[in-house]
């Protein structure tokens, strides 16, 4: 049987890939996609903890996280569309009207 730490390391690698994506991309859609990768990495660690501690609560958490992720993506993409209407771009470098 695969030990727990393998799954957790895989989840950590996936989370780091998400962090890297957020740091190096300028396109707001790509930032939202990297956010999805990070959420999925956390889901993987929840499910593996749930499996290895013999407790189903972790999978309940994954269920709720997926619901929140769906809501977050819907609202985020709606905001993105209205930004695109105003600025004709989804480049995060152009979104600086709130920047000090």
């Amino acid at each position: 049987m695969i030990p727990l730490s393998y799954y957790l390391i895989l989840s950590g690698i996936l989370f780091s890939i998400g962090v890297l994506g957020i740091l190096i991309r300028r396109n707001a859609i790509m930032i939202l996609l990297s956010l999805e990768i990070m959420l999925n990495a956390v889901n993987l660690s929840f499910v593996s903890f749930s499996r290895f501690s013999g407790n189903l609560e972790g999978q309940i958490f994954v269920f709720f996280i997926m619901t929140i992720a769906a809501a977050e993506v819907a609202v985020g993409l709606a905001i993105l569309i209205s930004i695109f209407r105003n600025k004709k771009s989804v480049d995060t470098d152009y979104m600086k009207s709130l920047r000090w």
Partner: protein
């Protein structure tokens, strides 16, 4: 056998996730992310979380990524290419910072010891999860529907009104 499957799916997940963040056009990234979701769903099946695996495929690969594709089609991003990557010092700082973060995660993970309940095997099928959802977690389950309602209303208002 199990470790062969684990390494296969782990390689699939990591390579497609890297392709997601490094491909030039967002549409390709979304399609690679579908593959990542399939790999993760296979890992969930290996962890006996069948319901979560099915939800992963239906909600993520089926709904959320299709939403991304629709928005990418609507936005019609023409001149995307090399410039969609960040330039300057933040680009070269990103990789070392991520590596430091990864090493930190590794050291933390190596210190985890779960009190052995190896013989106890839980099956995450629809029956057991549904039983838990509708008994112990009934209140959060109902409240999450209000979150979804708020998301529906917010999306409708944001896309209807013309913000100037």
């Amino acid at each position: 056998m199990e470790s062969v499957l684990f390494y296969t799916f782990a390689t699939l997940v990591v390579t497609t996730a890297l392709l997601v963040i490094f491909s030039n056009h967002p549409a390709y990234s979304v399609l690679y992310l579908v593959l990542t979701m399939f790999g993760l769903a296979s890992l969930y099946v290996m962890l006996h979380a069948y319901f979560v695996a099915a939800i992963q495929l239906m909600v993520y690969a089926g709904a959320i990524l299709v939403l991304f594709l629709f928005v990418i089609m609507l936005l019609n991003l023409e001149r995307e290419g090399e410039e969609s990557f960040r330039s300057g010092p933040s680009r070269w700082l990103a990789l070392p910072l991520t590596l430091v973060f990864l090493v930190e995660l590794y050291t933390v993970v190596m210190q985890i010891h779960i009190k052995g309940s190896k013989g106890l095997s839980v099956e995450g099928n629809t029956e057991s999860l549904g039983h838990l959802l509708f008994t112990q977690h009934l209140l959060p389950f109902e409240i999450i529907s209000f979150v979804l309602l708020a998301a529906i209303l917010g999306t409708t208002i944001l896309s209807k009104r013309n913000w100037k």
